[in-house]
Subunit: 340 residues, 2 copies
Amino acid sequence: MRAVKLYGARDVRVEDVPMPTIREDGDAIVRLAAACVCGSDLWAYRGIDPITTPVTVGHEYCGVVQEVGPSVTSVRPGDFVVGSFFASDGTCEICRSGYPSGCVDRRGMGEENCQAEYLRVPLADGTLVATPGMPDEDLVPHLLAASDVLGTGWFAAKAAGVGPGKTVAVVGDGAVGLLGVLAAKELGAERIIAMSRHEPRQKLAVEFGATDIVTERGDEGVARIRDLTDGLGVHSTLEAVGTQESMMQAIRSTRRGGHVGFVGVLHGVELPGRDLFFSHVHLHGGPAPVRAYLPDLIERIVSRRIRPGRVFDLELPFDQAAEAYAAMDERRAIKALLRF
Amino acid sequence: MRAVKLYGARDVRVEDVPMPTIREDGDAIVRLAAACVCGSDLWAYRGIDPITTPVTVGHEYCGVVQEVGPSVTSVRPGDFVVGSFFASDGTCEICRSGYPSGCVDRRGMGEENCQAEYLRVPLADGTLVATPGMPDEDLVPHLLAASDVLGTGWFAAKAAGVGPGKTVAVVGDGAVGLLGVLAAKELGAERIIAMSRHEPRQKLAVEFGATDIVTERGDEGVARIRDLTDGLGVHSTLEAVGTQESMMQAIRSTRRGGHVGFVGVLHGVELPGRDLFFSHVHLHGGPAPVRAYLPDLIERIVSRRIRPGRVFDLELPFDQAAEAYAAMDERRAIKALLRF
């Protein structure tokens, strides 16, 4: 089968690799419906997370179960399934508390081959969620988005305490930030301020529910947010970038007693304790517990209430994976979908 | 009247100063029932927070109202009152959301003279809470503790999500940490692990509700906490120190999805973003919104349900304030009470 591998900075190749097989009793083999590139894949693509040997990339997936190991009971061959970027057992105390991405036995799906035609999913019972029947073909991008970027935006909103009546700011206009806007809207936010200076992304933010657009960044961005909120700052800020500047912008845009949900994988960030102390914000984030949200998210997608797959603004044949990476790296695309 | 002033590192003097007067319509003048030294006063005492001119110290107070400004309606002369270390208007959106210590018009009481015989309290209506009638004399230390250390320990517990069934760790065995133990007990925690290596403090922790004592610190302390919690870490950690080591110990002692409430004023702390991201903890803290808790805390004290004033293990005449500071600095006393 074909799979994407990253050989080094900006060196993406599609090559033939062996088919995955059942290795543990709880495994499932899934024929993927499509593949996609994540913003977090770009850290390695850009050489910021250095790599020394060819590595698998990607960690988002949905498709049809081909085969299951002997202990798997919750999905069976023929089911269309969506999973999260962390496989999780679904039974440990951390999973049961709502944090499957913190599962004591979690497995990073980045170590499997998610940008490939077939995928081995360990801990299938705790990881995969089947859709009700076979979804229409046009729903595939939306279901694929649920696997990470929607689930991650959703977690950012939950971690930021978004709810009815809340004023929300979203830092970051990548797929996760934009779907954070959608999540905030779905969770009842009254006002949603998207921070973006790119017109196509601004438009999508508005389509997803943004009520205001702020183009300024850093100190000016914070000042603009304060102008819009009687000087107080917003109740809830979603941080979907992961840099020092974006984290501080998020914290400083939030009112005392408010919440910051951060989901951009932090790179080189050091939070100054004193600023955090006097900011009085709640801070919560990390790898999103997507699996916990999947039943709800799938229901919203198959009922055609939400269209998170709108973040895919570039669709390419699988063999053109390198171009998909380049387009995202150069911000010509928000998110690229690869069709087999 | 007499007041304590700090002239420089380890240079505490009691001197005569003018009586405070009503300066704003919302002020009250309070004759203090006793005074006390706070652990956070030691940062300046030790020269870590450097000072160049003589400064007022202390920020905890309770006593009898002598006089009120023309706009004050909620307290009157003769009332016994307790207030918080931040004066707050009680009416702004931040106050109403439960964060009076983040009030848009907050005034640090450290700028008034709280280690003195009389005190000016600005924004009296939003700041002071009257006890039901004149409390018995023996309740004074408990009510004085409510002004900061109890309220701060209470906030640490609330910020750490303490509730029935929770397993809690407390980092720091000063007055705030010990009263964090008491707060955790009152809020229904099932198991409370106090981290302390000082026998008198361990004893008080147990009296306040600690079920386990851990004497190890740093990596060993974290390992011990994990041993006690099936390898997961606790649900809730209260951080009441404010150093890099104590913050990291708190974060690493907490399970994924758990909560850290931090109330030690952070000094020189830089939180590594990546560790925070993958820790999956909720982080909340800052200056405690004590005013919001005072009605509840006063009720628990005057009904003699709790005895937070037990943290005062040294009582001295006011003129011996210098010895009170020295005793706390050298950890000969947990907390010192000064009698006029």
